[in-house]
């Protein structure tokens, strides 16, 4: 363990992280996280995906010191997660952030800069840079209560990176944003990576995770179900083949669409030869064969399915 902790290339490390909540009148235990082992490497963009209630936010809340682990340990930049000074080189944007509405963006960022002990001139320079970057200069002195949701999220991104941290943690940073807002967050993530920071983020928008992440962790029901690069997780496997043909021929498979002239069916890869032969021998014409490869979404859905207890499957509960 000592070697791993002193390894400067490991920015986040968790070991057997477990979180049990107490819920309801009888304080029944509910397991939020079950023995999570993770490593996030320096300079990478690390995505965390999973369905609602999987444990993504719990993991992030433990890493950011908002909650304590029931068991296990985590280290941020080689230091224990539960020490306040550990968070000096870390920036965090919570899911649906709320800020002091009586403050303007400039006042708020100045306040957060002071919490990182940033000297006045550096704060002023950095605030000007960030407001310019997220296009809020015109609204810099307007109280946040007058901001739209997207504008608040932009301020949230600024406060997370105001001190140019080594590690940036973002919890659902694209949640509820319009395409422009999402593009801005994506750009900021890539800029932070280019600066040399490590970015760790969770998201429901799997296309963003797939596009941005160097490595991804899949968490389902509080357990780590997969970790690796997007390529490692998805592989090259062809999941289905969509066959579009013309002609009055019956081909086995799931029909996707049909009109007077053409029909498209989804086939398992093993059915393709047989289906093509059926079309040709029946006097029809094959118009298109499109392989459908695995995506992060299909891998995640598979993991959710695998993690379902037998009773849930029998009752048809997701």
């Amino acid at each position: 363990m000592a070697s791993a902790l002193s390894d400067p290339d490991i920015v986040v490390r968790t070991e057997g992280l477990r979180k049990v909540y107490r819920s309801g009148f009888w304080m029944r235990p509910v397991v939020g996280l079950e023995g999570l082992d993770l490593e996030v490497r320096r300079g990478e963009v690390f995505g965390i995906v999973g369905p609602n209630g999987a444990g993504k936010t719990t993991t992030i809340k433990i890493l950011t010191g908002l909650q304590r682990a029931t068991q296990g340990m985590a280290w941020i930049l080689g230091k224990p997660y539960d020490q306040p000074e550990t968070r000096l080189r870390m920036g965090f944007l919570p899911e649906r952030p709320y800020f002091y509405e009586h403050l303007s963006a400039r006042e708020l960022l100045d306040f957060y800069g002071r919490l990182f002990d940033m000297p006045g001139p550096r704060r002023a320079r950095r605030i000007a840079e960030l407001l310019e970057r997220v296009d809020l200069v015109r609204f810099a002195d307007v109280p946040l209560r007058k901001y739209s949701k997207g504008m608040v999220q932009r301020v949230g991104v600024c406060q997370a990176i105001i001190h140019e941290p080594d590690l940036v943690i973002l919890d659902e940073p694209m949640s509820g944003l319009d395409p422009l807002g999402r593009a801005l967050v994506r750009d900021v993530i890539m800029e932070e990576r280019a600066r040399g920071a490590t970015v760790c983020f969770s998201s429901h928008i799997l296309s963003d995770v797939q596009e941005l992440s160097d490595r991804v962790a899949i968490i389902v029901r509080g357990k780590l179900r997969g970790i690796g690069s997007v390529h490692q997780l998805i592989g090259d496997r062809v999941r289905h083949v969509d066959l579009t043909y013309a002609g009055e021929v019956a081909v086995p498979g799931t029909e996707l669409r049909s009109d007077d002239a053409t029909r498209t069916v989804r086939l398992a890869p093993a059915q393709v030869d047989q289906a093509v032969a059926a079309v040709v021998h029946g006097g029809g014409r094959v118009l298109e064969l499109s392989p459908v490869r695995d995506s992060l979404e299909s891998v995640l859905l598979d993991e959710v399915e695998r993690a379902r207890p037998v009773d849930d499957k029998r009752l048809g509960v997701l």
Partner: protein, 254 residues
């Protein structure tokens, strides 16, 4: 520096709250009314003005302390503003103490404002007030420090409604502490006597801080009592704040 940043932000939030100004407006109203009251009074009119004015500063100071204190930590968790603060290099104790100091700063400014108004009123009406008036405001601040600490403690684990009930109970009991002691000594049952003594020592005694009689009658400053009030107030406040920190330290932010 981080504690100071938290304290000044809390101060800024408080002074931008309109409810604070409503309470202050009433306080100023009562202070000005004290002049009108003297016209209806028989006897030492100057004393009546002083008594009403001192009482108004005391009451409205306590009201503001309770109003600001009862939601100070709860509001931060409920509105999730604490998330972006506690995920920074801010220890839980710094958060509680920083917020508390912000409230104390607000109260100090508010008491200073009312005192200034009182001094102006006295100077125009009668004469520049004697030193005991200023010392009595100092001991009032000690009382407000303790009351705010209790409100802060309650806000670490309960909603503002519950916290306001608890704080109000502490405020009332704290002003009846001497009566509880008296009742305990006169009770026939030994268990009642014991219970009254435990209550007396466990709960605060706000009468320790009251120099209103001395200020109204312009008596000499009782330095020994002031010293005792300062020691008692600061020690008790530290203990209550320590308890608030201990509770908040173990709270998970859901």
């Amino acid at each position: 520096m981080r504690i100071w940043a938290l304290a000044t932000n809390t101060f800024r939030e408080a002074v931008r709250d309109r409810v604070l100004y409503s309470i202050l407006f009433f306080a100023v109203g009562v202070l000005l009314l004290s002049v009108a009251v003297q016209e209806l009074t028989i006897g030492d009119q100057a004393k009546v003005v002083r008594s009403v004015a001192q009482g108004a500063i005391d009451l409205f100071g306590s009201l503001i302390a309770m109003f600001l204190g009862i939601s100070i930590v709860y509001k931060e968790i409920e509105r999730k503003t604490a998330y972006t603060i506690l995920s920074k290099p801010i220890a839980r104790w710094r958060f509680v103490v920083g917020k508390y100091l912000g409230l104390v700063l607000t109260l100090a400014v508010e008491v200073a404002f009312l005192l200034l108004l009182y001094v102006l009123l006295m100077t125009f009406q009668q004469k520049f007030p004697p030193g005991i008036v200023f010392v009595s405001m100092g001991t009032l601040m000690l009382e407000l420090l303790l009351l705010t600490a209790w409100a802060t403690l309650f806000s670490t684990f309960s909603t503002p409604v519950t916290a306001s009930a608890f704080t109000l109970a502490i405020f009332v009991i704290g002003h009846l502490a001497d009566d509880i002691w008296l009742f305990g000594n006169q009770a026939e049952s030994e268990s009642l006597r014991q219970m009254a003594r435990v209550l007396y020592w466990a709960l605060p005694n706000f009468e320790v801080f009251s120099l209103r009689v001395e200020a109204v009658h312009e008596l000499p400053i009782p330095w020994q009592r002031v010293g005792w009030a300062a020691a008692y107030g600061l020690a008790y406040t530290s203990a209550v704040l320590g308890l608030a920190v201990a509770i908040f330290r173990h709270r998970d932010l859901k």
